[in-house]
């Protein structure tokens, strides 16, 4: 790293700082771009889409090759999940959304498997970037972008299914009843539901990935202090890494399932 003495705090801060670029006049604050998040998520998205497009282009109706069978496994798995929750024509939109969300979030989470120090070394020595956070989903912006997009889709489906009038009526009159005195409780109840959905959706994914990264960093700091630290830190680090493999897949799966559930709730009639 740099020439000055590395302290635990400076190590942590170095690994937790985004590669941020202010944009526009008076930039900074809200108008900052996290270059590392954007670049990594775009590259992973292009990889995912490119791979799927490449496989689909070579797909045959006869006996499938290995990559086609692999992709078919994935699509079959996602289709089963969507079938269990979403009534209506799932192949038009919801199943592709579920597939995209699942695979993309899974790959973004999987960036956590690469040791942070390797990324830091690569970025500092090859690309000359002082800071770089490798996991896009450990950035609140990414998870909120995904969750808010799903939320907007849910509202859009609500309005498309019931019409604007029907949706507003439902905002004020369910679940308690349509008496004018109940309009305010109904609205508050629905507001809490509408606000808590994207919040929990995004923060769950963010919290898991962020906490995972922090615990890795703390374990590697411990491993850098003497022999006992290295042994224990290595053992616990291996254990946490194995557990984290489960968490990475599980959180992507949960994000996808909740996406399907929210989209289904947007299609419901009361």
């Amino acid at each position: 790293m740099a020439a000055e003495q590395v302290t635990p705090t400076s190590y942590i801060n170095h690994h937790l700082t985004f590669n941020a670029r202010p944009v526009g006049e008076g930039g900074g604050g809200f108008w900052t771009l996290h270059v590392d998040t954007l670049v990594t998520s775009v590259i992973l998205g292009v990889l995912v889409l490119g791979f799927l497009w490449w496989v689909v282009r070579g797909a045959t109706a006869g006996v499938p090759g290995r990559r086609q069978a692999f992709v078919e496994l994935f699509i079959g798995f996602i289709d089963d999940q969507v079938k269990g929750i979403f009534q209506g024509d799932r192949h038009k939109f919801v199943a592709p959304v579920a597939l995209t969300v699942f695979v993309w979030v899974l790959l973004m989470n999987a960036m956590d498997f690469i040791p942070v120090d390797w990324i830091a070394w690569l970025m500092e020595n090859v690309f000359h970037q002082p800071h770089w956070r490798p996991v896009p989903t450990a950035d609140v912006n990414t998870t909120f972008a995904l969750a808010l997009s799903v939320w907007l889709l849910m509202v859009f489906f609500h309005i498309r299914t019931k019409g604007v009038g029907g949706w507003v009526h439902e905002l004020f009159c369910s679940p308690f009843g349509s008496h004018p005195l109940l309009w305010l409780p109904n609205l508050l109840f629905n507001a809490v539901e509408y606000i808590s959905k994207p919040l929990s959706h995004s923060l769950r994914l963010f919290g898991n990935m962020y906490a995972g990264e922090i615990i890795f960093i703390l374990l590697w700091i411990w491993a850098a202090t003497g022999l006992v630290g290295t042994i224990l830190g290595g053992v616990l680090g291996a254990g946490w890494a194995i557990f984290h493999i489960l968490i990475v897949g599980l959180q992507a799966y949960i994000f996808m399932m909740l996406t399907i559930v929210y989209l289904q709730m947007g299609h419901e009639h009361h």
Binding site: T9, I12, N13, L16, S200, L203, R204, F206, G207, N208, Y210, A211, I214, L250, Q251, Y253, I254, M257
Partner: protein, 92 residues
């Protein structure tokens, strides 16, 4: 010296706060997961043929129950490493 004292006070209370956040969150999450898994085991014992279907749901619910706890851990980490409450003393 005065500033050091103030910093120490803030850090001390923040430390206690972090411990409470993580500890109480963990207690809630573990009790919730324990209840859910005990029901799963009961159902699996009554109907072993339902085990695969129930197991998928168990993992999904595990992630959902863990959510608040993990969000709490994330917030606690924020206070541990980037404590915003220190700004008032550090003149930031």
């Amino acid at each position: 010296m005065e500033k050091l004292q103030l910093l120490a006070t803030i850090q001390a209370y923040t430390g206690i706060g972090i411990g409470l956040m993580i500890g109480l969150g963990a207690a809630g999450a573990c009790i919730g997961v324990g209840i859910m898994c005990s029901r799963f085991l009961e159902g699996a014992a009554r109907q072993p043929e339902m085990i695969p279907a129930l197991q998928a749901k168990v993992f999904l619910l595990l992630g959902l129950i863990d959510a608040s706890f993990i969000i709490g851990v994330g917030l606690a980490m924020l206070f541990a490493f980037g404590n915003p409450l220190l700004a008032v003393v550090q003149g930031g």
